[in-house]
Symmetry: D2
Subunit: 351 residues, 4 copies
Amino acid sequence: MPSLRAHVYRVPADGPDDVSGVEALFAAGLKPQHVVAVLGKTEGNGCVNDFTRGYATRSFENLFARYGVEGVSLVMSGGTEGALSPHWTVFAREASDAPAERALAIGTARTPPLPARHLGRREQVLLVAEGVRAAMRDAGIDNPSDVHFVQIKCPLLTLSRIAAAEAACETVATRDTLKSMGLSRGASALGVAVALGEADPETMADEDICTRYDLFSRCASTSAGVELTDHEIVVLGMGAGWSGPLSIDHAVMQNAVDSASVRQARDRLPERARLMAVLAKAEPDPSGKIAGRRHTMLDDSDISGTRHARAFVGGVLAGLFGMTDLYVSGGAEHQGPSGGGPVAIIVEKES
Amino acid sequence: MPSLRAHVYRVPADGPDDVSGVEALFAAGLKPQHVVAVLGKTEGNGCVNDFTRGYATRSFENLFARYGVEGVSLVMSGGTEGALSPHWTVFAREASDAPAERALAIGTARTPPLPARHLGRREQVLLVAEGVRAAMRDAGIDNPSDVHFVQIKCPLLTLSRIAAAEAACETVATRDTLKSMGLSRGASALGVAVALGEADPETMADEDICTRYDLFSRCASTSAGVELTDHEIVVLGMGAGWSGPLSIDHAVMQNAVDSASVRQARDRLPERARLMAVLAKAEPDPSGKIAGRRHTMLDDSDISGTRHARAFVGGVLAGLFGMTDLYVSGGAEHQGPSGGGPVAIIVEKES
Amino acid sequence: MPSLRAHVYRVPADGPDDVSGVEALFAAGLKPQHVVAVLGKTEGNGCVNDFTRGYATRSFENLFARYGVEGVSLVMSGGTEGALSPHWTVFAREASDAPAERALAIGTARTPPLPARHLGRREQVLLVAEGVRAAMRDAGIDNPSDVHFVQIKCPLLTLSRIAAAEAACETVATRDTLKSMGLSRGASALGVAVALGEADPETMADEDICTRYDLFSRCASTSAGVELTDHEIVVLGMGAGWSGPLSIDHAVMQNAVDSASVRQARDRLPERARLMAVLAKAEPDPSGKIAGRRHTMLDDSDISGTRHARAFVGGVLAGLFGMTDLYVSGGAEHQGPSGGGPVAIIVEKES
Amino acid sequence: MPSLRAHVYRVPADGPDDVSGVEALFAAGLKPQHVVAVLGKTEGNGCVNDFTRGYATRSFENLFARYGVEGVSLVMSGGTEGALSPHWTVFAREASDAPAERALAIGTARTPPLPARHLGRREQVLLVAEGVRAAMRDAGIDNPSDVHFVQIKCPLLTLSRIAAAEAACETVATRDTLKSMGLSRGASALGVAVALGEADPETMADEDICTRYDLFSRCASTSAGVELTDHEIVVLGMGAGWSGPLSIDHAVMQNAVDSASVRQARDRLPERARLMAVLAKAEPDPSGKIAGRRHTMLDDSDISGTRHARAFVGGVLAGLFGMTDLYVSGGAEHQGPSGGGPVAIIVEKES
């Protein structure tokens, strides 16, 4: 029985518009139409006025347009604080004649458009849960425990979307567009939790979103983008119908210094294997303390707390893995426990 | 034969003026006159306009003045980026009736005042080397390999010192007061290197200071202060005439992700021992790369590279040690190899 | 009939702890016990982690303690963005044999302690209004239109004050200590508005505080400090029982580029007079626009909007007055119209 | 005799990639091929890692490419600190049947490519001077006193250009690429000074560039870009062969609070005229003082001094002109006196 095979490439970027490394992959044989997603770390501040994300997205849109390819999920996370290195992680998949075995599986899905009145509410949670299930099917993954990372790009409220909703006599969860980003990220993460059986949709209320942080998914990573009204979902896990040398596992850091959980996840993967990608979420512990000691990330009016968190957790992970081109992203509502976050690890077995 | 005994206390600080934790130590029995040095991490930016250092120094001066104690070396390092936690590390020593064994030794010395014309030049290197030797004698350490950390507070050039030197027809190494801080830190670190036999004073020229970074000390940590014209030197090492449960060792990180060297140093210390203090220096790799990958610390016009470096190396070390009240200081001229830095570890054996 | 006479001194500061210029005033004859208030501009970020304010306050406390003087109102505003120059403005008053005429009048008052449950609520507004009336009486000013600047230092909620209130079965306006600062500033400004007849206490509700920005005082300037539980109030105006060459007037800038209002206020003062002090409040226009054009102050995740506002309004005023040691302070809830702010001008007639 | 006619448009920008306002001008009749230059203020930090400039440049390149237009000078200046508003200023010119009179004249020129070994040296000064003369001829301006603003985009040294030069046994002025930007800006400004008779090329030496700041041009505005190896020069002045309602004049601010010079320049222009554009350069006074008072711009390790300077001088100019979409650019080597800078004003007479 033939199989599907996943590919993962980590490509250095000299700037937000430097897609030359991905062009080189195409020149070396990677088929652009096999590319499913690009996760980028760009060197902006990762906050409101970070234009490196849009600049990178535009650059990749232009690149793929030249090859006539559409629909690649482009997820740009700003902020390479500390020694984190700007880079792109390219995910591709293709049919293979090799026999199916258990290997890294990639599945994707898009949800129907989300009405503005549903954003940040229970309806978004349910819509995303349905989308995650579809992406799992696309990946051929039945068992939620085989899912190790779910990347979601979700919509946000703009002034015009709010106006249109209100003109139709509907209400929105918030009229603050910035706040809508957090709500959408949080609801999307809870959608992952529902799909993976980590949270019960029956008992979940609108008010729980971005307040009840004891509810979370162990492997959701979500980011909001102004350019879409639906959700782009990429599921990474271990699938039976796949082949090739790639494997994935994940850890849930309980706090910013919890390297032990990450080390254990690495140890569950094949020992003699090359590290292909590390994907993590980080946030300043909202309690103001880590392991009983005060941190100053949330009191710093010069540097955003998310920048502190990426730099620090980037150091924790780089110290473990000995490399700096790690995908460490901020804004972790319902993505791992409060002050902690999920860390996915992809390795390639030595051949 | 009686002995000397060293004490090390790590005390949380709620702000640059919060010395209440040290007062509590006094109330609990620590004699203020036994205190040799206080190394502080304060929550400023660690750069030019960081007033938390002066505020903390003033607060400790007032505290010790109330107890009639003078001459304590107060070394304040600004910058608790990432999850680093503001705290004081208090070093004390006292005579003990316990028999001498091999244990943590603390020695101090002050050099004669440094003429402004010598700052940042070979003469400063030699003066500091002499001072380090004196501090080693004070600690009862003969063998340079028993020295694991040398903290030096050194002078800088001010406009008035430059003017006085020039009025006396002398020249100074630089007329840029900020640059004089780097030169003084670098010359002091090279003084440590000379005292410990890591560099040859005969072949060292004025021009090598802050240019030939292949010359460095494996365990120097230096900082410049406007309030002194001499050098305050604190040597930490293992001494034969000491007693008590404390031990020290050190690593030299080769770059910002070199956790292996630190782990090895930890492993050389007693296994079942409580971590008392970690003292480290960090800097953005001047090559612009770490382990072959670009970093953006030196191109960031919003956040100083030293802040990035402290946050990131703080993460590397916190991930290893599981605690965040680490002394991670920036500005590492000739202190460890370029892009790397020394890390001292102090532990207390379980009793 | 003898009179009171006000003095105003503008003193450069070389740092947050540089009180030497004020000491020089004492040496030159100013009696420390005549000093009523010191308004300082210190060179921190003016936001949460600005320790230059506490450092300066401590330095002045020590200075006045040496002269046995207590009760001077010390108001430190952080942030000398742009070309604003760190400085102290010293306000003093003394009895004079000169006949009373119309001149700058300074009055002070302290309110009773504010119960935590009243902070940020209507009760605080009324308490402050009573205090402002007392300070007006102290200044001998009957007519509200003779008041041109009211500086208030108000309390904030700390975790322990909140806990104490809740232990007594009381509620507080907010459990967010940072938010309590804004509420206290806003309620204090509305207290000024009530005392000066600018707002009707009968129709004012708790909910109006920090929401109904159409309610404001034309000449309130308030700041919250952790060190007090009552209010320190300084009223500046024109009083009939005063003598000396000083006069005051004020403008209300309608937005950040409204130099015309300031020029008109200056023109109402004696033409041949020396500028003694300019005291202003500034804030980023919450509408996101000024004079129809977008500004980026509120979208900037690298620099706080209050820092942008001080730099810019500092430029507007410095361009008008040709000097940079201006008191421009941020955080202007209910202090002038939304996006604008009060500007007081003090001049000394040529003799 | 027919004439040339200049057009100036000030267009708001919603982001670095928002060229919709310029597209609207094209839709309303402006011919894309008549556009000579676009000067943009984008909302980045204006320093090393400001990608909003490249993003905006790319967006305009794409726009003009769609219309088949090449060679438009695109000058992007990052930094809209304070209330400065992101916008584009579009300069166009066309033939007109109207009789020639004295009006705003626009001339352009490009120099031959600058060899890397000449950058930041006397040869660059002379090459630029020749180019400015060519642009003056293109504008039909004979008299240097009719020139009021010269915008130059100049090259910089990259690692590969340096390597190529050194491979050819040539030397470069600096091996520091960032420093090469300042040298290129400075040499270009001195080229303007030579062309306008403000500086004597005979007595100018390589060493004077970026050191002898008493040499400067009253109306140069230069910026370095990585994308060119020659110089793009735009001269704005008053020309006899031009028609239309536009006029230009300029001031030289002596320091950051020198609003008087700007007011005088405005007063030399027609009284009843609409303000079309203000183009200015600003920098932190390198003396550390303005009008005798200390500023903190150069000591601030959180915010770059150029950002402070733009915010503050933006305020000075906005207070004068009552508008915030001003072109205020930093980095003013040899562009106006030390700590000051040129300010060009373009107005349109009422018809």
